[in-house]
C-alpha cells in the first residue's frame, strides 16, 4: 500500500486555496486543506472538499475521438492529430488565418495558456484567441 500527499492549489474559483491530494496506490482518494497556505489557512469550501470527485470519474475521456459518418469513434493520437492539422490547415489556406478561432481555458495552467497563444499567433498566424474571462 502506497499512500502520500501532493501539495497543489484548488481547481474551482479564483481564490487559489492550498490543498493536498491524498494519493493511495495511484488513485486520488481525498483532499486535505493546507494549513500553511497564506490565503486559505487550512480552510476549504464544499467545492474544494469535493475537488477530487471528477478525477477518476467513469465518463473521463480516455482516447481521442474522430467523427465518422456522423458518429464520434475512438481513434489513435496519430490519426486524431493528423485530422486536426489537416482541418485547421485547410481552412487557414483556403480562407486565411483569421478564419480560425481558438478558445483557451481558465482551467488550463499558465504554461498551457502561454503555449496556446503562441500556437495561435506563431503557427496559425491570427490573434483570434480568447477565453472565458468575461463570462
Amino acid at each position: 500500500m502506497n499512500y502520500h500527499n501532493v501539495r497543489t492549489a484548488c481547481i474551482y474559483c479564483g481564490v487559489g486555496c492550498g490543498m493536498h491530494l491524498e494519493v493511495l496506490d495511484g488513485r486520488v482518494v481525498g483532499v486535505l486543506p493546507a494549513k500553511t497556505h497564506p490565503v486559505s489557512e487550512g480552510r476549504l469550501c464544499i467545492k474544494g472538499w469535493s475537488a477530487d470527485a471528477f478525477i477518476h470519474h467513469p465518463e473521463r475521456l480516455t482516447r481521442p475521438l474522430i467523427r465518422r459518418d456522423g458518429v464520434l469513434e475512438s481513434a489513435s493520437w496519430d490519426e486524431a492529430l493528423e485530422r486536426v492539422a489537416e482541418g485547421l490547415g485547410e481552412v487557414r489556406s483556403r480562407h486565411g488565418p483569421d478564419a480560425v478561432g481558438v478558445l483557451s481555458s481558465a482551467k488550463c495552467t499558465n504554461e498551457e495558456n502561454y503555449l496556446l497563444q503562441k500556437f495561435t499567433r506563431a503557427v496559425l498566424g491570427t490573434n483570434n484567441i480568447d477565453h472565458c474571462a468575461r463570462l
Binding site: L65, A85, N127
Partner: protein
C-alpha cells in the same frame, strides 16, 4: 479589466486577499462572496467581527447582504447611479483626500461636474436606494482610514460594465484608497486561472504580460525568441491586427467568417449568452476540434475530440485572483491515453509547422520562456516557487520578492485617471410582453457550466436542478405556487425550472443560476456587449414567467 487599465494602468486586483482584513470599511458589490468565493467571504466576515464596517450593494439579499452592516439594494443595471451618488456625497461632505487627488490623479474637475446632478433623491428614483442608506454608506466609506472595494462579475457583466468599474475606481481615488494595505479596487476572478489566462495573453489584443500585438517592437521580440522569422529572413510574420473575443467569434461563425475553431477546456455551448445561436454557430463550422477531460456539450459537436489530463495529472502553475502565482503538481497518471494540454499543443504545433521551438522537457522550461518574454513574470521560476511557495506579480527579476499591493506611491500609468461616467440604461428592460428583469449568477454548490461540479455526488445532492427565485409579490400576482415547475421565456428562448418564492429578490426581479445545461439560463440572456470590454450583459434581460400546469 479594460476599465481598471485606463483608470490605474493595470487591470488586476490591486490588493491581496489577506490584506483586505486591514480595511476599516469594505464595500462589496456585484459579488455574492460567501457563495462564489467562500474563503474570501469568511475573511471579510472575520474582519467585520473585528470592527470593519461591511457595506453590501446587491439586488439580491444574499447571505453576505444579510450579514452586512448596511445592505443597499439597487435595481440591476443602475450601478453608475449609486456610485456617482456616493461620489457626490463624499465630495459635498468634504470626505475627499485632497492631497491624494492633487498629487496622484487627473480629471477631478470633470468628475465633480459629472456627479453633481446625482443627488440622493435622483439615485432613489432610478436605483431604488433610500437616501439615508446611501448617505450612511458614503460617510462610512469616506471617513474610513482604509477602505476597500470588492466586486465581481455583477459589476462587469453589463453593457455599461466599464463605466461601472470606472465609477468604482473614482470612489477609491476620491478617498485616497489606493496603494496601501486594506484599500484598493479588487475584482474577484471567478475561475481558478482566469487571471493567469489573461496574464499569458490568451486575449485577442495582447501578448503575455499585456503587451500590445499592435506594437512592432514587441512583435519583433516575440518573433526572435519564438524563432518565427520566415526562412531566416527578417520579414515579420506575427499577426498585427487585433483578434476577436469569444462572443465575437461566435457571431463571426454564424456569418461564416470564422470557419474552424480549436476549443480547449471551454464549454461555450452552455456558457455563452443566447446559447441556441451559439450551438447553431458551432454546428455550422467546417471544422471544430475540442480538447477536454469530459465529453462536454461543446465537445459532442466536434469533428475531433482530444482527451486531456486533469489538474491532478499534470504539473504547472495557476495565478489566483490576487496575482498569486502558485504550483499545481501531478499526483496521478492521466486515464487511458489522455495527455496534458501542453503536450498536445506541442505535438500539434510540431505537425503543423516546422517553425519555432516546440520541444519542452517539462512545464518548468515553458515558465523559463515566459519569464524571458513577460516582464511582470520576469522573476518567476519553479525553483523560486518551490522555495517561496508563491510569487505575486509584478515580479520582475530573480531578486524581486513580488508585489502584495499595486500602485504604491504611483499608479502603473503614472497618474490615476478619473472618468466622468453617466448613467445609461441596460440594453433590454422589462416591458408589457416580458415584464420581469432576469439576473443570472452562481450558487455555492455548483460551478460554472457544471462540467466538473455536477459530477460530484456531494455537490449534486445539495443542488441538483435549476430553480428560479421570484419575489412573493410577483408569485402571488401570477398565481404561482412554491416549488411548482414554471416556464421562463425571453426574446431568445425558453427554459423550465422549479419556482422558489423568496424575498432574496425584489419585486420585478428574478434570479436563475446558470450551471444547469438542461435548463440553461443562457438560452435567455442578451448577447449585447459592452462596447469596450466586450462583456455580454448577463446580468440584465427581460423575461416572462408562466406556470407549466395544464
Amino acid at each position: 479589466m479594460a476599465g481598471l487599465v485606463t483608470a490605474f494602468g493595470s487591470g488586476a486586483m490591486t490588493n491581496s486577499i489577506p490584506d483586505l482584513e486591514q480595511a476599516d470599511c469594505i464595500l462589496v458589490t456585484g459579488s455574492n462572496t460567501t457563495e462564489t468565493h467562500p474563503i474570501i467571504g469568511t475573511r471579510l466576515l472575520r474582519a467585520q467581527r473585528r470592527g470593519t464596517k461591511l457595506i453590501v450593494v446587491d439586488p439580491r439579499r444574499t447571505q453576505m447582504a444579510r450579514c452586512a452592516d448596511l445592505h443597499l439594494r439597487q435595481r440591476p443595471g443602475t450601478d453608475v447611479v449609486w456610485l456617482n451618488g456616493m461620489a457626490r456625497i463624499v465630495i459635498e461632505e468634504g470626505l475627499t483626500d485632497e492631497a491624494f487627488i492633487a498629487e496622484r490623479t487627473e480629471g477631478f474637475e470633470e468628475l465633480k461636474q459629472a456627479v453633481a446632478d446625482y443627488t440622493p433623491e435622483r439615485v432613489e428614483g432610478i436605483a431604488g436606494i433610500p437616501p439615508e442608506a446611501l448617505i450612511q454608506a458614503a460617510r462610512w466609506f469616506g471617513a474610513a482610514e482604509r477602505a476597500a472595494i470588492v466586486y465581481a462579475v455583477g459589476i462587469t457583466q453589463h453593457t455599461s460594465g466599464v463605466q461601472h468599474v470606472w465609477a468604482c475606481a473614482n470612489l477609491a481615488m476620491l478617498t485616497g484608497n489606493v496603494g496601501r494595505p486594506g484599500t484598493g479596487v479588487n475584482p474577484l476572478r471567478g475561475q481558478n486561472n482566469v487571471q493567469g489566462a489573461c496574464d499569458m495573453g490568451a486575449l485577442p489584443v495582447v501578448f503575455p504580460g499585456y503587451q500590445s500585438v499592435g506594437d512592432s517592437q514587441i512583435r519583433e521580440t516575440f518573433a526572435q525568441i519564438w524563432k518565427v522569422h520566415a526562412d531566416g529572413a527578417r520579414r515579420q510574420i506575427l499577426p498585427t491586427n487585433p483578434g476577436l473575443t469569444e462572443t465575437e467569434m461566435m457571431s463571426a461563425a454564424q456569418r461564416g467568417r470564422i470557419r474552424a475553431m480549436y476549443i480547449v477546456g471551454e464549454n461555450p455551448a452552455v456558457s455563452e449568452p443566447d446559447s441556441t445561436h451559439v450551438r447553431r454557430a458551432l454546428d455550422s463550422l467546417e471544422f471544430l476540434v475540442v480538447q477536454d477531460i469530459f465529453l462536454s456539450e461543446t465537445a459532442s459537436l466536434a469533428e475531433v475530440v482530444l482527451p486531456a489530463a486533469s489538474w491532478a495529472e499534470r504539473d504547472g502553475t495557476f495565478t489566483a485572483t490576487d496575482r498569486r502565482v502558485q504550483r499545481i503538481r501531478k499526483a496521478v497518471e492521466p486515464p487511458g491515453e489522455a495527455k496534458p494540454d501542453w503536450q498536445i499543443i506541442c505535438e500539434l504545433a510540431g505537425r503543423m509547422s516546422a517553425r519555432g521551438e516546440w520541444s519542452y522537457a517539462d512545464p518548468s522550461e515553458i515558465m523559463a520562456e515566459i519569464a524571458v518574454l513577460t516582464p511582470i513574470y520576469g522573476g518567476v521560476s519553479y525553483e523560486r516557487l518551490e522555495r517561496l511557495g508563491y510569487l505575486q506579480w509584478p515580479c520582475r527579476d530573480f531578486d524581486d520578492p513580488g508585489t502584495p499591493y499595486l500602485h504604491k506611491g504611483q499608479f502603473a500609468r503614472g497618474l490615476g485617471r478619473f472618468h466622468a461616467v453617466r448613467y445609461q440604461e441596460a440594453d433590454e428592460l422589462p416591458d408589457d410582453e416580458y415584464p420581469l428583469l432576469l439576473t443570472t449568477g452562481r450558487i455555492m454548490f455548483q460551478y460554472h457550466t457544471g462540467t466538473l461540479s455536477r459530477r460530484s455526488p456531494k455537490l449534486e445532492q445539495e443542488a441538483e436542478s435549476c430553480f428560479v427565485e421570484v419575489n412573493p409579490v410577483d408569485a402571488q400576482a401570477k398565481g404561482l405556487e412554491a416549488d411548482e415547475r414554471v416556464r421562463i421565456c425571453s426574446r431568445r428562448g425558453a427554459i423550465e425550472a422549479r419556482l422558489q418564492i423568496t424575498d432574496r429578490v425584489e419585486p420585478g426581479v428574478v434570479f436563475i443560476p446558470f450551471h444547469f445545461a438542461e435548463a440553461a439560463a443562457n438560452v435567455l440572456t442578451n448577447p449585447t456587449l459592452d462596447p469596450t470590454a466586450k462583456i455580454p450583459e448577463y446580468k440584465v434581460c427581460a423575461v416572462g414567467i408562466e406556470p407549466l400546469r395544464g
